[in-house]
Symmetry: C2
Subunit: 339 residues, 2 copies
């Protein structure tokens, strides 16, 4: 018997973060008796008078949204990070270390239309979203105390999204958070050791192999990373060096919008349901330093596993020990490519 | 305005793993319009003819469970890790690194009674569970290829538990998984640097402060760690050095059972619902080396946030950047202590 990726349990290494994933391909046959998600297939309305994000409506904080026609950005009324706090730090012995954290939390409405999601917007509209991201990234970088800008989107009730109106968020802050910090360290090590960029080198290696590619256009590749954790996890990564949104040309932005739309359209087709996910961009910190080691890339973490109602639970073993998946990255990529 | 833990956003450091948590205490006031969990309050039956775990029933794999009266352990019929695979490894360039992983997955039924959960079992019955863990840990350590034994429990549908019959699992394997490996490194550094154990030193520091203690008995303390991530996260940790289950005396095992019962009884009272969580034990690897730097401790990661139906979602920002919580560790500990 020869060891095979498609049949035998193995661990794969993630060079972007230094972590591992446990892959158990034989486990796909396991019967599922547990929780089923509910499918909400209500007829969506283009305007909801109760929605905090629709044009012209009053938000929780009392402010009134303008009659916006494209994207619309505002500061989160219940942001986890705020600017107006006193700074302080607390350190006692080896175990009690804490520090105040200033930041800015914003909400980006992707469209005035309450009923739409990214895959249902046209290319021009998604292009507007990307342009808005760039504008926000540039503005937030100007703030002296902001050293990292996290742009992300939670889509679907199962992903804790409390409002179906198409929107994403930005949390920008003083510290570089754990996940991008791991990448920062690995990318820098690689750059210093090889004089090359880890992300684009990886993309080039995947373009040769072709096994995990879902889609490509002039500037970007959509792929399932070799070390993917979530069943249909995907990454949109550039073919050549792009440090951050700040450095993106119009045509690169259009290509990112195209890749984002194409992937999410495929996702919606997968189980014939509006596909839930958390997605976001990892890119150069805004700490005032040069970051030639960084390439912007967008990651998608969708929870559904086998159908619109059966998701992957990252629980016991995964929380306590190591992320685990059943389906191989190659299988997932093949399924998404063919849709 | 002075910086205060109870009011202002801050980051806390976890010295056990080297990671951070973003705390946003002011955010507790945020209204919740998102997904609500369903409460399943069916009249539970002591025996379910359809259950794979009840005594005398036939399992998915075709085997018949014995008429057990206390705990019962068997090898998982759909284990993510198995023994009988060929070994192999794959390494190509900087990006493609994988290795076969052998292991053993077991299921431990905590009681023959289908309707019971840990907080509903008596002290003697939970003591039996702890003794079973010790027996399994010892047996698995004997297997030359097993270097780490992860004991855990997923409780509740929301935690991906596919069967309400009271049970836990053991996944034992060749590699030390990521989470215990981080602790292994931190504990060893601390031990080599100070000649002391990080876990018991931490417990002693918390016993002086008293702010985050929920409960204690002769051998163990139940506390909310300063760097807790989940809203009502807790840890059961020893007052003095206990490397692993292998080294536990009868009275220490009885005390661990008592702490486990007491905490889960409090949990059930919190929102008047059978409280979901993932829990498990981190302890010395079984790699044949001495591990004086390790102390066994049990961690509890429960998802509920505000009520039986509103959970904390670890999504967008948390997946992409950093875990985040609203409620402070001190508040959570106070609530659990007083129950
Ligand atoms: O209890 P089960 O059915 O084996 O499975 C459950 O626990 C496992 C270990 O934490 C997870 O990998 C699964 O996603 C979860 O559904
Ligand atoms: O969109 P909301 O309501 O701000 O909140 C959602 O996203 C946040 C950032 O990922 C999470 O911290 C919350 O748990 C989630 O419910």
């Amino acid at each position: 018997m020869k060891f095979s990726f498609e049949e035998h349990s193995h661990r794969r290494f993630n060079p972007f973060t230094g972590s591992y994933v446990q892959v158990s391909p034989h486990r796909s046959k396991r019967p599922w008796q547990g929780q089923q998600e509910k499918i909400v297939k209500s007829e969506p309305v283009t305007y909801d008078p109760e929605c905090f994000l629709c044009p012209g409506n009053t938000r929780v904080g009392g402010e009134v949204n303008p009659d916006y026609t494209s994207t619309f950005v505002f500061t989160n009324d219940f942001g986890a990070l705020t600017q107006d706090i006193p700074s302080g730090s607390y350190e006692e012995g080896d175990f009690f270390k804490a520090k105040s954290e200033r930041g800015v939390c914003k909400v980006i409405c992707f469209s005035p239309d309450h009923s739409k999601t990214i895959p249902q917007l046209n290319q021009e509209e998604v292009f507007d979203v990307v342009k808005t991201w760039k504008k926000e990234y540039l503005e937030l970088s100007e703030l002296e105390f902001i050293n990292y800008v996290q742009i992300f989107e939670n889509k679907g009730e199962v992903m804790g999204c409390s409002n179906p109106h198409p929107h994403g968020q930005i949390w920008a802050q003083e510290s570089i958070p754990d996940e991008p910090l791991k990448k920062q360290q690995k990318f820098l090590e690689y750059y210093q050791g090889k004089g090359k960029n880890m992300v684009t080198e990886y993309v080039q290696a995947e373009l040769v192999k072709k096994e995990r590619i879902i889609y490509e256009n002039d500037s970007f590749v959509v792929l399932v990373p070799f070390w993917a954790v979530w069943p249909f996890e995907a990454m949109i990564a550039p073919k050549s060096h792009i440090e951050s949104l700040a450095k993106m040309s119009e045509s690169q932005m259009a290509d990112l919008a195209d890749a984002y739309r194409t992937l999410t359209i495929k996702y919606d087709r997968l189980f014939d349901v509006s596909f839930p996910y958390s997605a976001g961009i990892h890119q150069a910190p805004t700490d005032g330093r040069e970051h030639p080691e960084w390439d912007l890339h967008m990651v998608f973490y969708p929870p559904l596993l086998r159908s619109a109602t059966v998701k992957k639970f990252m629980v016991g073993y995964e929380m306590l020990a190591n992320p685990q998946r059943d389906l191989t990255a190659e299988k997932a990529a093949g399924i998404l490519r063919d849709l």
